[in-house]
Symmetry: C2
Amino acid sequence: MRVLDAIDDEYGGVIVDPQRLPVNPSSFAMVLHSSLSHWKMQGKKGVWLKLPVERSELVPIAVKEGFQYHHAERGYVMLTYWIPEGPCMLPSNASHHVGVGGFVINDKNEVLVVQEKHYAPALVGLWKIPTGFILEAEEISTGVVREIKEETGIDTEFVEVIAFRHAHNVAFEKSDLFFVCMLRPLSTQIAVDDIEIQAAKWMPLDEFVEQPLIQGDCMFKKIIDICIARLGKRYCGLSAQQLVSKFDGKLSSLYYNVTEAQDLNCQGL
Amino acid sequence: MRVLDAIDDEYGGVIVDPQRLPVNPSSFAMVLHSSLSHWKMQGKKGVWLKLPVERSELVPIAVKEGFQYHHAERGYVMLTYWIPEGPCMLPSNASHHVGVGGFVINDKNEVLVVQEKHYAPALVGLWKIPTGFILEAEEISTGVVREIKEETGIDTEFVEVIAFRHAHNVAFEKSDLFFVCMLRPLSTQIAVDDIEIQAAKWMPLDEFVEQPLIQGDCMFKKIIDICIARLGKRYCGLSAQQLVSKFDGKLSSLYYNVTEAQDLNCQGL
C-alpha cells in the first residue's frame, strides 16, 4: 500500500510533504485514499495537506476525500482532515487583522493629519491621523513608523502604544485590533502618497479636535482625549521591550506600561 | 458575451456572487474568461471570487485563468485577480492569532495554575497560568474568562489587560498577539478539563514565581513581575470600555489605562 510522504507533528497528526506529491492526479487520488486508511489504523489525529497553487488540480480530489479548507495564502491552500471521532481539535486559522494609527504632534502643537482618497461617505472631509495595516511579521512600532512615512513622507520615532480598539466582523468576517500610537516627528516636510492619500498637513491640535466628525463620535473623541491626557502627562502608555524567550529562542516584544514606581529588573536586549 | 453575476465594491473592484456560478465547469471556464475581458474594458481593479467547498472543481479553472489564493475558511476558498498594471492593492488576509492568559489570584495569595498535556519538552513540569486562543468575534475579556472556566472549572471576573506580547512566525507563518489578563476568582472548586489539561491547582504565589522555568526565562519572569507590581498597586493595566462608533454602527471595545488623574468624560454604554 502506497502512502504519501509525511512527517509526524507533535500532536499525534501528520504533515504531508508538499514537495513530494504524486505528479499524476489519479495516482494522487489513490495514494491519498490509501494514506488515510493507513493513518487511521495508526491512530493518527489531524492530517495537514498543503497544496501549492501549481497543484490546484488536486484540490477537488482532496475535497472529495473529505478534506476541509483550513487557510490559504497567495501560493497555496492548506486542507485538513480530522480522523478521530469527536470534535476537531486542530488550531484555527488566523483570526485578526492588525492596524495602527499614528498620533504625531510637533512642538508647535500641530498634529500630522491626512485625508484619504477612499472614504466612507460619512467621513468625507475628515482630517484624521495616518493609519494602515502592519505587514507580515512586522512589529507595531515599526509598522506605524512605516505607514506614516509612506502616507506623509514624515520621519518619526515611536514613543508608546496609547490604547487599542478591538472590533469584530470587519473584513472577511475577521476581527480587527487597532493600536493607537504616539510618535515624535523627526522631520517637517510633507510629501503626500498619491495612491492612498488625498492631502496631508500639520493641523493645530485645537482645530483637529474641534472637527464635528470627531466631536460627534464617541470612539474618535475618546481616543483623542486619551492622546491629549498623555500629552499632559495625565496618562501613561505602553512601551515595547524586546525579549528572547529561552524556550523557543524567539525574539518577541512585550508591551507594558512604563510606570515610575516600577521595580521590574529583567534585562532586555 | 456572458458575464458572471457580480456586484461592485467600494474600491473599483467586483465581487462575484458565489450563489450564482454556472453549474457546468466548462461553462464556468468560458464565462470567467469573458467576464475578465469585460471587467478589464470597464477599468475594474480587483476581482473577488469566493468558491464554496462544494464547488472545489472550479478552483483549478480559476487558477489557470490567473487567479491567486487570497484566504480560505472551512467552507470556502477566496481567490482574487488584480487587473491593473502595477502592484496589487487588495487588502491582505488575516495576519494574527490572538491568545489570552489569565492571572487569577485569590485572597490567600494563591495563583490558579495548570499543567498542560502537550508541552514542548523544555517546559515539562511547569505550572503555568491558563491560556488559550480567543474564538471568532470574541472579546479578550470574554475569551479569557471562558478559557479559564473550560480548563479549570473556575468562574472569574475580568479585571484588566496587564500587558501583551507580540511574536512572529508562530503558527502557519502568522504572528501572534498574547494578552496577559488579571482576573478575580468567583469560585474555588477546581474541575480539570481532561482533554487539554493534565492538572490544575491553587499554588502559593511564592512557589509559583520560584519555579526554575520561570526564574530562568526573561519573558516569563517579566510578565510575572508585572503581575506582582499590579497586585502591589505599583502598575496600572488596561480596562475595556465598549463604545459604538456612529460611522459603522459597530460596537467595539477600547482598551486603555485606568489612571486616577484622567479627566476623560466620554460616556460608554
